[in-house]
């Protein structure tokens, strides 16, 4: 009935790479990836140039869905404040899951160290898109210093998700007042 078994080797590899590299870190072995995907190494290296490229491709594949889920609809008619808070609500929602380990696009960059790694480039792009969303919204909301406020929101986003990810923080009652205070300070409605 479902398409579980029918997924192509490429899709299964991308999915396995996304899950395992998040759960266990980017150091997962290709053998573990292949086993989880039910695909041979032979096929992996036929579809991707290297493990690094597979990792990058798995991040890239998930990015549109993640962004669409995180951001409000482009035309939802909400105020900038509502639209910004929507993003943080989503982050708070995913952070309550026991398997949450923080924003994968941040952790990947931290684990890989090198900004040149293909997966680091993808992750950076996803973060930049979020920063640009914040920047556009706060400008629309009349922030006195839109650049500053957008950067502040990114700091809160990454800081809160990282601390929740390592189990240092329960986000309950934390994110919304923090974002609210920063929006208030910048005069955003």
């Amino acid at each position: 009935m479902t398409t579980e078994v029918k997924a192509s080797p490429e899709e299964r590899l991308l999915e396995a790479a996304a899950q395992l590299s998040y759960r266990e870190g980017v150091g997962v072995g290709v053998q573990a990836l292949c086993q989880a995907a039910g695909v041979s190494k032979r096929s992996l290296y036929q579809l991707f140039d290297s493990k690094d490229e597979l990792l990058a491709a798995s991040l890239e594949r998930g990015a549109p869905a993640y962004t669409a889920w995180l951001l409000p609809a482009a035309d939802d008619g909400g105020s900038p404040r509502e639209r910004i808070l929507h993003v943080f609500d989503r982050m708070e929602t995913e952070a309550v899951a026991p398997e949450f380990q923080g924003c994968r696009y941040l952790t990947v960059q931290i684990e890989l160290k090198s900004p040149e790694h293909p997966a680091s480039r993808v992750a950076r792009g996803v973060k930049q898109a979020l920063a640009e969303f914040f920047r556009a919204e706060v400008e629309r909301g009349g922030a006195r210093d839109p650049d500053l406020l957008a950067r502040q929101l990114m700091v809160v986003f990454d800081g809160a998700s990282a601390r929740a990810g390592v189990g240092a923080e329960d986000l309950t009652g934390l994110v919304s007042p923090t974002v609210g205070a920063l929006l208030d300070a910048e005069g955003v409605q």
Copy 2:
């Protein structure tokens, strides 16, 4: 002249572990650690039970110096606001170094995933100490909700240092206004 050569194998190992695990990640090999320390693997496993324990010990060894450097003197006579901003000034200072990769006590927890890892435990303790400093200072400063404000400051600390660490953010002009806005919102002088 200097005591460089005279450092004990244990000290050299702790130092090498601190530097290499930060620069390259916790996945560094014991061979690389031994080579950097000028110590044989034989001696490593005589002094430490495992690579994990060496890693934890290296974090623990550096913690007092880091905390002393990060926090203001207990009796510096500054206001809570000044003492809190001192911490963020220090973080901003270390973040300008080109080799900065973010707060090592956060990155270690992210890389290790498991909270049970001995090095994760040490890192968590360092973070808790900082959180308690914030909590005491904001309470002294008359914050309306000291717990909330202390958690907010931790989020800003970790978020700002993580983003600077992955090269996503130049902290210039960002941290001080952010902390200031949060202190203002909570009525801290």
